[in-house]
């Protein structure tokens, strides 16, 4: 199963449409998408506008692979679960976000094992063909670096 999420705040129809078109062609693969406040209604995959945090975590854990916007909640969540994640950054010029920070975020995180980046919907569809077969990664630990925790702890204990 592929779990698709665009977060809860903003629509990302370009991503949902690309996955929907791919699902129509590929046929076999089960896909569930959390589509947010988008206008595009997928026809070839199961979807929900919003899901609760618990359900999101459960669906991520149960998925073979995750496809998402380049949001940190999804990227970190996938790394914590050791799931391969394919992200497509939102673009400000298409009204998909307030600025283009997801382009830079995606670029930096593409160096993490398990995170793949598709620049646009064509690259996304091309990547999807091989993506579901990817193996899980070693999960990252649940907490921040010792250095950051130490700095915070020192500040709190002041």
């Amino acid at each position: 199963m592929i779990f698709v999420t665009v977060g809860t705040q903003l629509a990302f129809d370009r991503l949902i449409r690309a996955v929907d078109e791919w699902a129509a062609r590929s046929g076999e693969v089960e896909v569930f998408a959390q589509i947010g406040p988008g206008a595009y209604r997928p026809r070839h995959l199961e979807y929900s506008d919003f899901i609760a945090p618990d359900e999101c975590r459960e669906r991520m854990a149960a998925a073979d692979a995750i496809v998402a916007h380049a949001g940190m909640g999804t990227i970190i969540g996938a790394l914590e679960l050791g799931k391969p994640v394919l992200v497509m950054p939102r673009r400000a010029d298409l009204g998909e976000h307030r600025n283009d920070h997801q382009l830079a975020t995606a670029d930096r995180f593409s160096t993490f094992g398990g995170v793949q980046v598709a620049a646009d919907e064509h690259a996304l569809q091309a990547r999807l063909d091989a993506f579901g077969a990817r193996a899980d990664q070693a999960p990252i630990g649940p907490y921040a670096s010792d250095r950051l925790l130490g700095a915070l702890s020192a500040f709190i204990n002041g």
């Binding site: 977060g7 809860t8 705040q9 609760a52 945090p53 618990d54 949001g71 940190m72 909640g73 999804t74 990227i75 970190i76 969540g77 790394l79 920070h101 997801q102 830079a104 975020t105 670029d107 930096r108 990252i140 649940p142 907490y143 921040a144 670096s145 010792d146 250095r147 950051l148 925790l149 130490g150 700095a151 915070l152 702890s153 020192a154 500040f155 709190i156 204990n157 002041g158």
Partner: protein, 153 residues
């Protein structure tokens, strides 16, 4: 972890989504203290165990009435909690909490999201002039009052 002289009352604030996920990764730094959490999604309650938990509506600039209500609720929560320390990983509600925290003389920490690779977030830029400690998660963004002390990953 350095040991506390005495337990501090901490208010940990983050919007739902990536900000909340990053705040959750800071939990070991809160151990031994009295922590309350404030976010924008009531569904996160079960992730905080026995800690106090509050949620406010996730209002944006487009919904003025809702924003006023969310702001009022947030101010009330911060004043009632009377924290010694406020920690936020963003976004707007965290910045607001940090400003209100100054009214009760709390010490404040801002940890800018790891998503902000090229520049600090708008909330982060505002927070950098107000927080007692302002951290970026990217070494190349450390400058002036903004320090780098590692990342949530």
């Amino acid at each position: 972890m350095t040991r506390a002289r005495r337990p501090q009352r901490i208010l940990a604030v983050a919007s739902s989504g990536g900000h909340w996920v990053q705040l959750s990764r800071l939990k070991p730094a809160f151990e031994g203290h009295d922590v309350a959490y404030l976010t924008t999604e009531p569904g996160h309650r079960r992730e905080v165990g026995s800690a106090r938990f509050y949620s406010v509506p996730d209002a944006n600039r487009n919904a003025k009435g809702k924003l006023a209500l969310a702001t009022a609720k947030l101010v009330w929560i911060v004043l009632r909690e009377r924290p010694d320390v406020v920690v936020s990983t963003g976004a707007a509600p965290g910045y607001l909490a940090l400003r209100v925290a100054k009214l009760v003389r709390a010490r404040t920490v801002w940890v800018d999201s790891v998503a902000n690779v090229e520049e600090l977030s708008m909330s982060g830029r505002l927070a950098s002039t107000k927080a007692d400690l302002c951290l970026t998660q990217w070494p190349h963004l450390a400058e002036g009052r903004v320090a780098y002390e590692g990342a949530v990953l």
